[in-house]
Amino acid sequence: MATLDPVLAQSPQEFNVTSTPSAESPFRAQVERVVAARDAVSSVVVGQDAIVEQLFIALLAGGHVLIEGAPGLGKTLLVRTMATVCGLEFSRIQFTPDLMPSDITGSVVLVHDDAGVTHPQFRRGPIFAQLVLTDEINRSTPKTQSALLEAMQEGTVTVAGAEHVLPVPFVVLATQNPIEMEGTYQLPEAQTDRFFFKVQIPYPDNAVLGAILDLTTGASVDVPESILSPADLLDLQSIVREVALPTAVRDGIVRFLLESQPQRSESSDEVRRFVRFGVSPRGGQTLVLAAKARAFLEGRFNVGFEDVREVALPALRHRFRLNYDAEAEGLTTDMMLTELVERHVR
């Protein structure tokens, strides 16, 4: 690092800070492109700005998203629009109770070549895409769910003893209906932990609902252009990991993670009484990565406390479980998480 003396010799009023192209401009341009992509999606999916931003955060962090919401709230439109804007190969899988794993991953079939020879050939399933929408994932059996989750975790699928690499970037956006609906299978905790975010899509309010009706029932529907490319997305994902994490923010996250563990004697009475299990280290990693992605999306190159607080709920609500006492008391996961994060991450 160069000496600070020339700078320190000047009075604060003499500083005229201007960014140099070599230092900041490339990243600024990339930030602006991401922001433009986000805004493009938001212009199509009306009234879901927060959800769109969370999806972009997960996209920049390279994570998969579990989207929870009632049917008809524009989940499919949201994912399809994102794929278009980001220039990603899109695939959609509708999960049903009779859906088999091979229906997702693909299967080996016998094909005849031009010479009339018959030989087995792997026919790729819908999982082989850069952006995969798995609709109503909780309607399929756990066996099928686990096939998808293996692909999500490893980035590969193995069929007939052969391993097939999934394309990059590979992002799964899974939707699920609320578990109280009939014909659903709740995802096990170990499987939900593999989702980077769990996003809850709320029912639109009056103004948003009117806008949705106006936009989607007209003579023409605007189709956004592609703003990003898969290469851009991969580059952005690597840049996001370089966003600085100040020690103070990191320490706050650590305190929060430890506090969420009910088995620790140092935990508060509330945690020990109502929490079934706390946030895992993987949850901490997710929290940091999501905070970095959000900071970058906000045009910053360091994580702030606010970034952590903003991404805490989608990153941790499916990794943090309360017990029956909490349910009896009317506590929700979001309520408890919000309280713990506000207490430690500041």
Partner: protein, 510 residues
């Protein structure tokens, strides 16, 4: 213009250092004010305590106040500087505070960490620093470290008010006045200059009275005391010394004057204190037990009890002769010398005491007075002749021996007084007995105690009265041969300032 990312970190550091300097200044200011307030309280407490333990006097009080105030404030300033220097927040802490206060999303904190951590391999370090430097301009030290000037001004009023009020605070009373009745109570502020002026005036008058007394007695010791009081009076009048400065000298001179004038037993030894009763209660016993021994003079009789008397007059429990009481006694003596008091048993003599007469000299030039004086002089001359014949023993008018009072003084007893006065006073209308010296260096003193030992009409003197005994002067003294106009100066000096105030008017016999 910042060209590099390192310079950008410098911008952040410089800004944070400015914030830290302001924090130090605020800490020093608050510390100084707090110390000043504590110093005020301490000075008040110490001054109060000093009065209880006897550390009194304006010089002591000012020295105490000044030392304490300067010392405490100095310690406070040093402590504030040390605290502001040693406990000043680090740049990291200030960066966090600035980030939170100005919603910078930990930009400054992260940039500062890049200056110390090895993060040069990150592609974002440069962008991060530039971004932080751009936002560092938003950091206002005055906003981040506010100084509550209104509260500071209120706190600063305390030491300022104290500094203004210091000169008016009650100082310790002058040592010379400490022995006065009721002086244990704090002296009100307005009484201090009045009290000082009164003491100065008392010293001046005592010097005058002692001068006259020395001339009258021809006593070198009293003359020396007079010079001492004159010197003290001049020092006080010229302002070269305060009353507190000369307090010890005044006290010593007052004690010496009390002994020299034979007043000690009247203040330190009272009737019924074991040394003997009043002379009229002595009956046939020797009145020598009531005598006060001069310094350097051998004890006459009953030596043990005499020493006891001396010890008790000088002991802690004795009544000390104060400046006021000394002046009072001197004035009473002067009064008595100017006009006979009740103890003189001269009710049949019509004394005249009037300043107007003394001033214009008509009284002293009256033929009646000159005639009476001539008669008295004749009697004295005869007494001296008889005394010379008897080898220094005083004789009364009938040639009988009387008491010899001191080497240079030849007092006569009541018998002599009767012979001198009672027989002659009828010849004059009025008689004035001024306290003046005589050219012969002798002084005639009338001793009422011995009046009981001598027959005034027959002139028989009780031989039990030991020769050489020093007896108190309780009667008027007069100089029969020089009662003339020129002595009016001395008398006038005594009474001119305030005749009425001293009750002299009541004593005058027209």
């Amino acid at each position: 213009m910042i060209a590099g990312s390192s310079d950008a970190v410098g911008v952040v550091v410089r800004r944070l250092r400015a914030v830290r300097w302001r924090w130090r200044g605020r800490a020093a200011l608050i510390g100084f004010l707090a110390t000043a307030v504590v110093a005020i309280g301490t000075v008040f407490a110490v001054r109060l305590a000093a009065r209880f333990v006897g550390l009194d006097g304006p010089v002591v009080a000012w020295a105490l106040d000044g030392t304490l105030a300067v010392g405490l404030i100095g310690v406070g300033v040093v402590a504030s500087l040390v605290v502001s220097g040693a406990f000043a927040p680090s740049l990291t802490v200030l960066a966090l505070r600035a980030d939170a206060r100005f919603a910078l999303h930990e930009r400054l904190t992260a940039a500062l960490e890049t200056a110390t951590a090895s993060t040069e391999d990150s592609r974002l370090v440069g962008a991060l620093r530039m971004d932080a430097a751009r936002h560092a301009a938003m950091v206002e030290p005055a906003v981040l470290v506010p100084i509550p000037w209104r509260r500071v001004a209120l706190w600063a009023l305390a030491p300022v008010a104290f500094a203004v009020a210091m000169p008016g605070l009650p100082d310790a009373e002058a040592p010379i006045a400490a022995g006065r009745p009721g002086s244990s109570a704090p002296v009100p502020m307005m009484d201090v200059p009045i009290e000082d002026e009164r003491v100065r005036e008392n010293v001046r008058r005592i010097a005058l009275l002692l001068n006259a007394e020395a001339v009258a007695r021809q006593d070198d010791e009293i003359a020396e005391l007079a010079r001492t009081f004159e010197d003290l009076s001049q020092r006080l009048a010229s302002g070269t010394a305060s009353i507190a400065d000369v307090g010890a000298d005044l006290r010593e001179a007052t004690d010496r004057a009390a002994y020299a004038l034979g007043l000690a037993e009247q203040t330190g030894i009272r009737a019924g204190d074991g040394l003997g009763d009043r002379p009229e209660d002595l009956g046939g016993r020797s009145p020598a037990n009531t005598a006060t021994r001069r310094p350097g003079e051998e004890a006459p009789v009953d030596e043990g009890r005499g020493f006891e008397a001396l010890d008790r007059t000088a002991g802690p429990g004795a009544n000390e002769m104060t400046l006021d009481s000394l002046l009072e006694r001197l004035e009473m003596d002067a009064l008595a010398q100017a006009a006979p008091d009740e103890n003189a048993n001269l009710d049949d003599v019509r004394f005249r005491q009037g300043q107007g007469d003394l001033d214009d000299g008509t009284y002293f030039d009256s033929p009646a007075l000159q005639e009476a004086t001539a008669q008295i002089m004749d009697n004295i001359r005869r007494q001296q002749d008889a005394q010379a014949r008897e080898g220094g023993t005083a004789f009364d008018g009938t040639g009988r021996t009387g008491n010899q009072a001191g080497g240079a003084t030849a007092p006569i007893d009541e018998g002599a007084r009767g012979a001198l006065l009672d027989d002659e006073v009828d010849a004059v209308d009025e008689l004035l007995l001024p306290a003046v010296g005589r050219p012969t260096g002798r002084r005639i003193e009338l001793h009422p105690p011995t009046a009981y030992a001598a027959d005034a009409t027959s002139g028989v003197v009780d031989d039990a009265v030991d020769a050489g005994a020093w007896r108190p002067t309780q009667a008027v003294a007069f100089a029969p041969e020089v009662v003339s106009w020129r002595h009016s100066d001395v008398i006038g000096a005594f009474f001119t300032p305030a005749v009425d105030d001293r009750g002299v008017a009541d004593l005058s016999v027209p």
